[in-house]
């Protein structure tokens, strides 16, 4: 064969399908997948998405080098193609190939033993968004049918900005990404979109072409700073100080949009100066409500703050001042406004003082503040702040800056974090007892009825608030559990979290004391599972990789959690670090080998489809096949063992003999394609996808734009109109329609009068230095996503490994390199009081002295002794996030809960002497 023939054959195909990658970047870019026979020849970006609004660029081409190299991974060396059983010690690397029948029987027996001996809550699944909805739904379904535990995904990965939740009652602030184009000022803050948002990055350039100013605020001169108009180097972990200083400038220079702040935020609400608590109705009226607040009307004095709307309806609230108020018992107290208290606090952040804290020149702070106040400003925020111990304070401060300058709910404004698009069919699916539209209508009507019943109790509540109430109710009967309790009781974190020297110094009691107090007060009632006495025995990791990911490290899990487990079951397509330590590995089909969709998000507001371009390789199976077969095997073995029913942790009787049938609803949902078709049709019926949508329309078009936000809280929380001819701006309902926020005060809430927040002096946003997590060492280790991989997914992809050094790197400054006697390419050891790892030094002038960057994603097995970067991360949890049952601060699945920090740990570095 000639070279020319070989080249041409490389680009031959006989079939084209749509594909997307259903990995945790969530971009789900539609690709054309070109197949020759049973082999994917190549893929390319689809580029078929039409522009939505006139004058606004389209989303095309959507894609990146990782998606464009996906097909290579179908045949990569780390692929698992057969069911494998461990032989010898865990992690010993010895495996035997077994049949599916053997594998499923072994798993089923381990589960039945556990149910019989310790109860079903000893069976634990890790939630994730890895692998797409059709990877997640099957095991969530099995866990739901069994009454087992699923560890809440956000509690594992801390992707969602806690500070957004504290402020807005939700984390969903993200507009469609084309709204970026309409901004006049883009702040790339705690984000590096040139690395992590490659498919969307063109909107930043396009906004710049039309005159927007792009600012990079980061400690290091990162790839996004290169193409920015202004680079603001901030000391790591001090972003709250910078933001608050900008707020101080905005207020002191009279640049604030106080009308916006008066309507949207709690700044005009009254606070008692004697207690620091909001003035509540029950304070001044006998039998008054606890969640009813007041403002001071310039014309008429004290006045009820409207609850049903953000609109002031003729009121002119005073924003500053102090007034006497008579209480119900006849006594008099002084009240003031949140803004007055805020201004007192902001006095600590005048630019000259803030410069000392955050390292940004006072003149730069003033310039930046004036820019924000005078422009439509959007903060492009990634998933970085939630990973800081005090990330919530940074987020609250950023939100405050936007709230003072009228920068949300309007074109080109807001915080571009993450928001899920409400695929109603997916949310309905677990409730369906049969296929079809009749069942859908029955369920939707039931939900509507429940919402209306709740509305009778609170006629002023919005659909979003009632949706949250429903979600909270379902949480107390569902499988999802915040992992903080699991990790505390069973995974060895208790001792770590009690190390006061690694925690916030304002913490007055031990972590133990706060946790037991929170539990005793019932703040986590019904979801603090499994309890201390219920040890885990079977752990499922489906596409997750806890030994790489867990903040706290592989060693902690292996020494504390693993010994308790009878069976570690990994379902994955590749040999991850967790798979290497499993008892059984069940091989799953990859994208391009099965149908799938990923969690849709509002960035694109589209549902993209991944088709089965080829059959699954080896003996790999889809998760639907795996878990439906496991459900069937469980039923069969249960009958053989005469274990037909049991009572779960919530006193509900479960029937094992029916499990197999229940899983597929008597055969109605025999395959993932049928399941997906049902989700899509139900979503269309509910109004979130175009009428007539089905798997076939997805298969034809590759990607479908949403037509609505749906009826469930995750979708509604974006609070915006979806138009087929317009960009979607998050929070439009709050600004344009005056719909209240789902917070305690029904306003964007910057003042949290919970006693614990007062104790921590975090009742208002403030700056706190990152705790000395890991010990008192000179270097601060940060991280971020690289441009080469989404987490560790592409760490076995040869072309992608070839685009970087293919091995773990520690990126450090030249100055630190000199001080540590390290040269480029040296092997270095990063050490602190929690652990250590070794990697190669990358010395660069773009990193500031005192900072080390280790990009996320390297598998521990790529490091010596398999000690990855998480060995130096204690995984500290901020005690304040144990607060519950305070208005909006209550557990919601994939929402408010304590999350582990993994950024800004303190380390030292030394060169590893050559052996």
């Amino acid at each position: 064969m000639s070279t020319e023939d070989r080249y041409q054959r490389r680009w031959c195909w006989d079939r084209v399908t749509w594909g997307t990658h259903c990995v945790n970047c969530l971009a789900t870019c539609p690709y054309r997948v070109f197949t020759l026979g049973d082999t994917v020849a190549f893929e390319e970006q689809g580029g078929t998405i039409e522009a939505v609004a006139e004058g606004v660029p389209d989303l095309n081409p959507l894609g990146c080098q990782k998606g464009s190299a996906w097909s290579v991974q179908l045949t990569s060396e780390d692929r698992v193609l057969h069911p494998l059983r461990r032989v010898g010690e865990r992690g010993g690397g010895q495996w035997e190939q077994i049949t599916w029948e053997e594998a499923l029987t072994e798993v089923a027996d381990a589960m039945l033993d556990t149910i019989d001996e310790d109860g079903v809550e000893s069976i634990v699944f890790e939630e994730s968004v890895e692998g797409g909805l059709l990877s997640q739904a099957p095991f969530l379904r099995l866990a739901g049918l069994l009454g087992a535990i699923t560890l809440d995904a956000n509690g594992l990965v801390n992707d969602l900005p806690t500070g957004h939740h504290i402020t807005f009652g939700k984390f969903s602030c993200a507009s469609t990404v084309d709204d970026t184009f309409r901004s006049e000022l883009l702040l790339q803050w705690h984000s590096n979109p040139a690395y992590t948002s490659i498919p969307y990055h063109h909107f930043i350039s396009e906004a710049r072409y039309r005159g927007a100013t792009v600012v990079a605020i980061a400690p290091d001169y990162n790839a996004s700073a290169v193409s920015s108009d202004m680079f603001v180097p901030v000391r790591p972990g001090t972003d709250a100080a910078l933001a608050l200083s900008m707020c101080e400038v905005v207020l002191s220079e009279g640049l604030a949009d106080l009308e916006f702040a008066s309507t949207q935020t709690d700044l005009p609400l009254l606070v008692r100066t004697d207690t620091g608590r909001f003035l509540r109705e029950r304070d001044i009226r006998s039998g008054g409500a606890e969640d009813h607040f007041f403002l001071w009307d310039e014309g008429n004095g004290i006045h009820d703050a409207p609850r049903a709307t953000l609109r002031l309806e003729g009121l002119k609230p005073a924003l500053r001042g102090r007034w006497p108020v008579q209480l119900a018992d006849g006594s008099t107290v002084e009240v003031t406004t949140v803004l007055s208290l805020l201004e007192e606090r902001l006095a600590d952040y005048v630019p000259e003082r803030a410069e000392e804290l955050c390292g940004v020149a006072a003149s730069t702070i003033r310039t930046l503040a004036r820019m924000v106040a005078g422009h439509r400003c959007k903060i492009l925020e990634g998933f970085n702040t939630p990973k800081y111990y005090h990330g919530d304070l940074m987020e609250r401060s950023m939100c405050l800056l936007l709230g003072l300058t009228g920068n949300w709910g309007r074109p080109g404004t807001g915080i571009q974090g993450l928001a899920l698009a409400g695929l109603d069919g997916y949310f309905l699916f677990p409730m369906k007892t049969k296929k079809g539209v009749e069942e859908t209508a029955r369920l939707l009507e039931g939900i509507e009825q429940a919402v209306e019943t709740m509305r009778e109790r609170d006629p002023e509540a919005t659909d979003e608030m009632l949706g949250n109430q429903l979600l909270a109710l379902s949480a107390s009967s569902g499988t999802s559990a915040p992992p903080v309790f699991f990790n505390y009781h069973h995974a060895g974190y208790r001792e770590t979290w009690n190390r006061a020297e690694w925690s916030d110094p304002t913490m007055k009691r031990t972590f133990d004391a706060y946790l037991s107090d929170a539990v005793r007060r019932g703040w986590w009632g019904g979801v603090a599972r499994p309890g201390a006495a219920t040890e885990p025995r079977v752990l499922f990791s489906v596409g997750t990789n806890p030994l790489r990911r867990a903040r706290g490290g592989r060693a902690k899990l292996l020494s504390n959690l693993w010994p308790k487990l009878d069976k570690v079951v990994v379902v994955d397509f590749r040999m991850s670090t967790t798979a290497l330590h499993a008892d059984l590995i069940l091989p799953s089909a990859m994208q391009y080998e099965r149908v799938n969709v990923q969690y849709p998000i509002t960035h694109t507001l589209r549902l993209s489809f991944s088709d089965a371009a080829t059959p699954p390789r080896g003996e790999s199976r889809t998760e639907w096949q795996i878990f439906s077969a496991l459900a069937k095997r469980l039923s069969e073995r249960a009958v053989e063992r005469d274990l037909l029913e049991y009572v779960d942790g919530r006193r509900q009787t479960r029937h094992l003999d029916r499990l197999g049938d229940d899983f597929v609803v008597g055969g109605d949902f025999a395959s993932e394609e049928v399941v997906l078709d049902e989700w899509v049709r139900d979503s269309a019926d509910a109004g979130t996808l175009p009428v007539g949508s089905s798997v076939e329309t997805l298969r034809r078009d590759g990607s479908i734009r949403f037509t609505g936000l749906g009826i469930f809280a995750p979708g509604l929380s974006v609070a915006a109109d979806v138009s087929p001819t317009d960009v979607m701006t998050a929070f439009g309902w709050h600004v344009d329609k005056g719909l209240p926020f789902p917070t305690l005060t029904r306003r964007a809430q910057f003042y949290i009068d919970h006693p614990w927040f007062v104790e921590a002096d975090e009742h208002l946003p403030r700056h706190k230095e990152p705790p000395r997590m890991g010990g008192d060492w000179p270097l601060l280790m940060t991280s971020g996503h690289s441009r080469w991989t989404v987490h560790s997914i592409s760490m076995g992809n040869r072309p992608l490994l070839g685009t970087h050094r293919g091995r773990p790197l520690v990126v450090m400054s030249e100055q630190d390199a000199v001080e540590c006697a390290v040269r480029e390419g040296d092997q270095v050891r990063v050490v602190n009081d929690h652990g250590a790892f070794e990697a190669m030094a990358r010395v660069t002038p773009r990193v500031r002295p005192g900072q080390l960057i280790v990009y996320n994603g390297f598998e521990p097995h790529m490091f010596p002794r398999w000690e990855g970067t998480n060995e130096v991360e204690p995984g500290m949890v901020k005690w304040l996030h144990l607060v519950g049952k305070y208005g909006h601060l209550r557990y919601l699945p994939f929402g408010w809960q304590p999350v582990p920090a993994d950024r800004a740990v303190f380390v030292r570095l030394e060169r590893v002497e050559a052996v």
Binding site: G436, A441, R442, D685, G692, S694
Partner: protein
């Protein structure tokens, strides 16, 4: 009282609601689909006799009497020289093996088209009768519309009523009106006899009017 009568589809999952309802505008639409579905099935002796006795026009007139939009039923005269054999032969000449969506749109893989339709039917609790007609047969598609309109009339749920209406509009747009007008044009070009000329014209007119009506209902 009115009830549906399916010939190409069967109930797989029984719907809630009565199986008979008072006649009204919606059952009239259902009834017209019932008549048109029967008319375009492969003719047998009974079909021929009904044409000769003027029963097709009578049935369509009765079915259409409560329609919310006008439908000119007109006259149908079976020529005296037409016998049952030539009557059947005319159907075969015009439609070949039958009026099928896949054949009309030139689909390479008819199984694909049928599979899509089967899923559509299943979502509404129906299955194709395996021993009768193809899923993409005109009569089956008319059966489906007949059933959706009936369920719209029978349900007590506003939400479900809207679902059935949306489904009808979608099915008319994506299926029936995406191929029937071309089929009608192609058959008309072949110079059909008076019976089929009448039927084709009624079919085409009714589908367009029905789409307009359903759309107006939904948008209104």
């Amino acid at each position: 009282m009115f009830t549906y009568s399916l010939t190409g589809l069967e109930i797989k999952s029984a719907a809630d609601g009565p199986e008979e309802v008072e006649e009204n505008e919606t059952t009239a639409r259902s009834a017209v689909y019932q008549v048109l579905g029967a008319f375009f099935s492969a003719p047998d002796r009974d079909h021929f006799d009904r044409a000769g006795q003027g029963l097709w026009t009578k049935e369509l007139t009765e079915a259409a009497s409560l329609l919310p939009f006008p439908l000119e039923v007109g006259e149908l005269t079976l020529a005296s020289d037409v016998d049952p054999e030539s009557y059947s032969a005319e159907y075969a000449r015009l439609f070949g093996a039958g009026c099928s969506e896949a054949l009309q749109i030139g689909a390479e893989d008819r199984d694909d088209v049928e599979a899509k339709l089967r899923r559509e039917y299943e979502y509404f609790g129906l299955a194709v009768s395996t021993d009768r007609r193809a899923a993409d047969d005109l009569c089956t598609e008319c059966d489906f519309m007949q059933y959706l309109a009936f369920r719209e009339a029978a349900t007590g749920s506003d939400r479900l009523r809207a679902s059935y209406r949306k489904a009808q509009r979608d099915f008319l747009e994506r299926h029936l009106l995406s191929w029937v007008p071309d089929m009608v044009a192609a058959a008309t070009a072949l110079g059909p006899n008076a019976v089929y000329s009448w039927g084709l014209d009624r079919l085409d007119t009714f589908l367009r009017s029905d789409l307009d009506y359903v759309t107006a209902q939904l948008d209104g």
